[in-house]
C-alpha cells in the first residue's frame, strides 16, 4: 500500500514535468527564430559603433574568421570590406580591471589605426571605474584615430605611469587595464596582419 502511494506521487511529479517541459519546448520553437534575429541585430549594432557604416558595404557578421588571441582564447574577427577590399577589422579584446575582466570591442582599419573601441562588459565600481562606458562619459572616444606610433608605443599608458592617457580621480586601475588592452589589441593586429587581412 505504502509503495503504491509513493508511485502515485512519482507519477504526479512526472506528469507535471512532462506538461511544463512540453510547454517550454513549444515556446522555444515559436520564439527561436525571432531570438536569433534579435541577437544578430544586436551584434550588428555593436559592430557599427566601432566600424562606421561608411567604410564597408558587406555584412560584417557573415564575413568573419575565428582566431586564437595571445591568451589562447578563441576570438571572432569581423571583417569589413568595400568593393572587395578589406577596410577594417573588429574583434574582442580583454583587459584586467579593478573587479575582474573588462571585455571590449576594438575596430581598426587596414593600416592599424583605431576606428573605434567600446566596452562590452565590465564589473567596475559604479561611479568610479564605470566611466569607461560610453554611456557614462566620452573617455573611451579619445582612442579613435590613434595607432601604435601615434602616440609612440611607450606613451600608451595612463598619465600616472608616464603615458598620455588621463586616469579618473579615484580610479587608475580601470583605465590602465583598458589602455593596455587596446595597446595589446593593436599589437595583435600588427603581429597577425597578414592572416587577418588576407584570404578567407
Amino acid at each position: 500500500m505504502k509503495q503504491q502511494r509513493t508511485m502515485v506521487h512519482g507519477v504526479i511529479l512526472g506528469v507535471f514535468c512532462l506538461g511544463f517541459g512540453a510547454l517550454l519546448a513549444v515556446t522555444n520553437s515559436i520564439t527561436e527564430k525571432d531570438i536569433a534575429a534579435r541577437a544578430l541585430e544586436d551584434k550588428l549594432n555593436s559592430l557599427s559603433q566601432v566600424i562606421p557604416d561608411s567604410v564597408h558595404d558587406n555584412n560584417l557578421v557573415k564575413d568573419s574568421i575565428t582566431m586564437k588571441n595571445d591568451r589562447d582564447k578563441e576570438i571572432t574577427v569581423y571583417r569589413a570590406t568595400k568593393e572587395g577590399k578589406v577596410t577594417g577589422l573588429a574583434y574582442e579584446i580583454y583587459g584586467s580591471g579593478y573587479a575582474g575582466e573588462i571585455k571590449l570591442m576594438l575596430g581598426v582599419d587596414a593600416q592599424g589605426k583605431v576606428l573605434g573601441v567600446r566596452v562590452l562588459a565590465h564589473k567596475e565600481t559604479p561611479g568610479l571605474g564605470d566611466k569607461i562606458d560610453v554611456k557614462k562619459t566620452d573617455w573611451i572616444l579619445r582612442f579613435t584615430d590613434l595607432s601604435l606610433g601615434n602616440p609612440p608605443v611607450d606613451k600608451w599608458k595612463v598619465k600616472k605611469d608616464g603615458g598620455q592617457f588621463d586616469q579618473f580621480a579615484g580610479a587608475t586601475i580601470t583605465p590602465r587595464g583598458v589602455v593596455r588592452a587596446i595597446k595589446e589589441g593593436l599589437e595583435f593586429f600588427n603581429a597577425h596582419k597578414a592572416q587577418m587581412l588576407g584570404g578567407q
Binding site: L23, L24, G127
Partner: protein, 224 residues
C-alpha cells in the same frame, strides 16, 4: 477557504508586504535597487511570474499532493520564468535588454514560492491570481522606493533611463535632483542596500505602531 479581495489587496501592498513585512526576496532587493528604474523593472517582472504561477498552482491545487508540492512549485515558477524570458527576448527586445539580466534571478526569489505555499495552494484561482498580482505590486513598490532613495543619495538622479524601460513617453520621469558627482558612492554599493532596506522596514513598523496595530513578525507563514 476564500479570502476577501480587500484583504488580499491590503496584505499585498502594505500589511504583509513581501519585502517590508515578510522580509522575503531580499536577494534581488539588495542587488537590483541601485536605481529606481532597476527596482521597478525587477518588481514588474516578478509580479508577472507571481501572478501566473499563483494561478497555475491554484488550478492544480487538488492534484498536487502534499509530498511532491515543493518540487512542483519550483517547476512551475521556473517554467514561468523561462517562458517570460523567451517571450520578452523575442518580442519585447528593447525591454529585454534592460531587464534580461534580472529575469533569471526571479527563480532564486523565495517570495513567489512562499506565496504559493501559504496562499495559492489553499485558495481558489481568482483569489490566487489577485494575490500574485498584488503581492507583486507590493514588491515592486518596495523595490522602487528603496531604489529611489539609493539613487537620489548615491547618484543624484531619479528614474534615470526610465525611458529605456517604459518607452520614450516616460522621458519626463528622468530627473537630476543633485549635481553630478555629489552622490554618496556607498549608497549604490551593497552596504547602501542593507541600510536603506533596514530603514524602510523600521519606517513601516513605526507607522504601524502609530496606527495602533500589532507588529507582524516576518516570515512566510504569517497570516496568509
Amino acid at each position: 477557504m476564500t479570502t476577501e479581495y480587500k484583504t488580499i489587496v491590503k496584505d499585498g501592498l502594505w500589511e504583509n508586504n513581501g519585502v517590508l513585512a515578510m522580509l522575503l526576496g531580499l536577494c534581488p532587493t539588495m542587488a537590483m535597487t541601485t536605481s529606481a528604474t532597476n527596482g521597478l523593472g525587477m518588481g514588474l517582472a516578478t509580479a508577472v511570474v507571481m501572478a501566473a504561477s499563483g494561478l497555475l498552482v491554484s488550478i492544480f491545487r487538488s492534484q498536487i499532493t502534499q509530498e511532491v508540492r515543493i518540487p512542483v512549485y519550483i517547476l512551475i515558477v521556473a517554467s514561468m520564468v523561462t517562458l517570460v524570458d523567451l517571450c520578452m527576448n523575442a518580442w519585447m527586445h528593447e525591454l529585454y535588454k534592460v531587464l534580461g539580466l534580472f529575469i533569471p534571478l526571479i527563480v532564486s526569489n523565495c517570495l513567489p514560492l512562499a506565496r504559493l505555499e501559504a496562499f495559492a495552494s489553499k485558495e481558489p484561482p481568482a483569489q490566487s491570481l489577485m494575490d500574485g498580482i498584488f503581492m507583486g505590486i507590493g514588491f515592486t513598490l518596495a523595490l522602487t522606493a528603496i531604489g529611489a532613495v539609493r539613487e537620489i543619495t548615491g547618484s543624484g538622479t531619479l528614474f534615470a533611463d526610465a525611458s529605456l524601460l517604459l518607452g520614450p513617453a516616460f522621458k519626463f520621469m528622468e530627473m537630476r535632483l543633485l549635481p553630478a558627482d555629489s552622490g554618496i558612492l556607498m549608497m549604490i554599493l551593497p552596504p547602501g542596500g542593507f541600510l536603506v532596506a533596514g530603514l524602510m522596514v523600521v519606517g513601516k513598523r513605526m507607522l504601524d505602531v502609530r496606527a495602533g496595530k500589532a507588529i507582524q513578525m516576518g516570515g512566510a507563514h504569517s497570516a496568509a
